[in-house]
């Protein structure tokens, strides 16, 4: 007993010391994490939070002709686009473009992503690099490439003419068709990467099991492969959708002034008409649209995840 009595405080002291050490170490770790996070957080604050706050404040000012900004607090900049059918149409066109590009991009990227995810070839790394290689070239350069390919005298029209299939060139550029083609190609690498990272649950054993239980190849694909790759498909769709509705270069260059989406409208208001408050309000509307879509996406993924 005596021994126990004399030992207990020592053990306690040792235990307490150990606990203190652990606590101190945990505190040190937390401090290290904070210090490591600080540059990133500061960068985010300067490059994202401040401009965002500035933009939101700007959206409540009033834009007079020729770039004069009246510092005030008005909702006019929001009332105007929300009550004007033209801006509803522009918003709807933006949304439609995002959905169309998202769907087409997923459709053409899915086979490539599936092949790359399953490949056991020693060249898999190389194939992967080839699939995402277009990212090494700027979207502006690739858009100019599409302008050359889709133009009146471009590769497509010249080939079709040469084969005697058309007399007058098809209008493949300076409209939504050209913008859609360009965006699908430009965002394919993102879709492929997003899908591969989302194919974690996809397992060849499950497909084999379904096959051995009598499912046809089509049934295996529609009832096993697709449901298991759905998280990857949804992530890719969301990523491409968000990138599409926020992109301005391709709609501007391949749209030929006929494609009016929120991003091009923001550009025109900012640089052409110098109405920064109105441009800021349109950007906030675009941001809200992002938020809504992401909320829907999260609900969907939760549902799929069980």
């Amino acid at each position: 007993m005596t021994v126990t009595k004399t030992q207990t405080p020592a053990v306690r002291r040792a235990g307490a010391a150990e606990g203190d050490l652990e606590l101190a170490s945990r505190r040190r770790n937390r401090r290290t994490y904070l210090v490591l996070l600080l540059p990133g957080l500061l960068g985010l604050l300067v490059s994202f939070v401040f401009p965002l706050a500035y933009m939101i404040r700007m959206s409540f000012n009033r834009g007079a002709p020729d770039g004069v900004i009246e510092e005030t607090f008005t909702l006019d900049t929001y009332i105007q686009p929300l009550t004007d059918p033209y801006y509803w149409r522009v918003t709807l066109d933006t949304f439609q473009m995002g959905v169309t590009v998202g769907l087409l991009c997923v459709l053409v990227s899915y086979p490539v992503a599936l092949f790359l995810a399953r490949s056991t070839s020693k060249y898999r790394g190389l194939l992967m690099a080839i699939a995402i290689a277009p990212l090494l070239t700027s979207a502006v350069v690739r858009t100019y490439g599409w302008m050359v390919i889709l133009g009146t005298n471009g590769l497509v029209n010249s080939s079709l003419k040469g084969m005697g299939l058309i007399d007058t060139p098809l209008k493949l550029t300076n409209n939504m068709t050209g913008v859609t083609i360009g965006l699908v190609e430009i965002f394919m690498p993102y879709a492929i990467l997003a899908m591969i990272s989302g194919f974690g649950r996809l397992s060849p054993q499950l497909e084999e099991a379904a096959g051995s239980l009598g499912a046809s190849k089509l049934q295996v694909f529609t009832r096993v492969t697709i449901p298991l790759s759905l998280p990857g498909i949804l992530t890719a769709f969301l990523l491409v959708f968000v990138l599409s509705i926020s992109t301005f270069i391709t709609p501007r260059l391949l749209g030929g002034g006929s494609v009016q989406v929120l991003a091009t409208e923001v550009y025109d208001q900012t640089t052409g008409l110098l109405n920064w408050p109105f441009a800021a309000a349109l950007s906030v509307i675009l941001l809200i649209l992002f938020g809504l879509i992401i909320a829907v996406y999260q609900r969907l993924t939760k549902k799929i995840g069980g």
Binding site: P65, D66, Y86, Y297
Partner: protein, 362 residues
Amino acid sequence: MRVITKGKIALAAAATAAALVLTGCGGGSGSTGGGNSSATSGELNLIAYSGVWQDQYTAAVIEPFKAKYPDIKINFVSKRSSAEMLSALQGQKNSPATDVAIMDNSVSTTGNTQGLFDKIDATAVPNLANVPDKFKGKDGFGPVVMLDAVGLLYDTATFPKAPDSWNVLWDPAYAGKINVNAPPSLLGLSLTAITSKMEGEDYTKSIDKAVARLKEMAPGVQTFAPNPDEYQNVITGQTVLGLGQNARGQFYSDQSNKKMGVTFPKEGTVYQINTVNIVKDAPNKAAAQTFANYALSAEAQTAFAKALFYAPSVTNAELPADVKARVVPTDGSLNIVPLDVEFLSSARDKWTDIWKRQIITK
């Protein structure tokens, strides 16, 4: 769990994309400061047009200026349009980082009313004496430094003889082969005024008839925002007719071995006039005055006319006959549709809106 993790990745990606859009909207412009310059030394910050204009102005005017004033260092900040320049200057209003701006007079007039520019001191800029009164700035602000006008661009293979009327833009034979720059581009605003005049309207009161006529033309327009620009569209055969500036049109006509031509149709055209302006509270005012004086010299204006076919604004500039024949006439011999700059600054938003909603077709 995995799904949610991927969701977070997508969220982060979406946030990054949003950040890119938003920071892109932040605008703003940067320029190097200077200060403490004298009339013959120090730094000078010039804001003017980009692209071929910058290249040619640098070679024809800035380089000789630097040879003459080796102690003045020029920082050239280039912008695609005068509106972008105005936007940059507005952003610097409280602490100007620009000394001289060369921009369209419809925009510089706005800058004058907004207090962005100083009046020109004739004693510090003696070459102002060679600028005729009609080209001197109202109330003593920046004078005209060069003139140009809107021209009709055409493919010389399709049109061995230059078209003489704007009506060719409505000819069904060329439907789908036309490029037109929609407003707020000055080209589109000019076409609106020209069409209004052709329809017998007073565009300051109404453009209804012009809009109806432009709507007839719109389905035949290949692009309302030609890329890389209006000239290359014609040169590469994407279109056969287009709107463009005479000066650049002449330059690219030579560059393309005359594949493209530029002409002034009989119904008239609109001047595009550039002014040289000294920014109010410019950090290097003395050097700015020295530069403005040089820009208004016969030497600089003749050199730039030879390089990019802008008509000089000073009376003592003598052009060789072959250059004179290709710059816009300023002696009253050309049919000009007067586009009042003060009216234009109030109509720009309205006309742009009309084009977007009523004229531009999908």
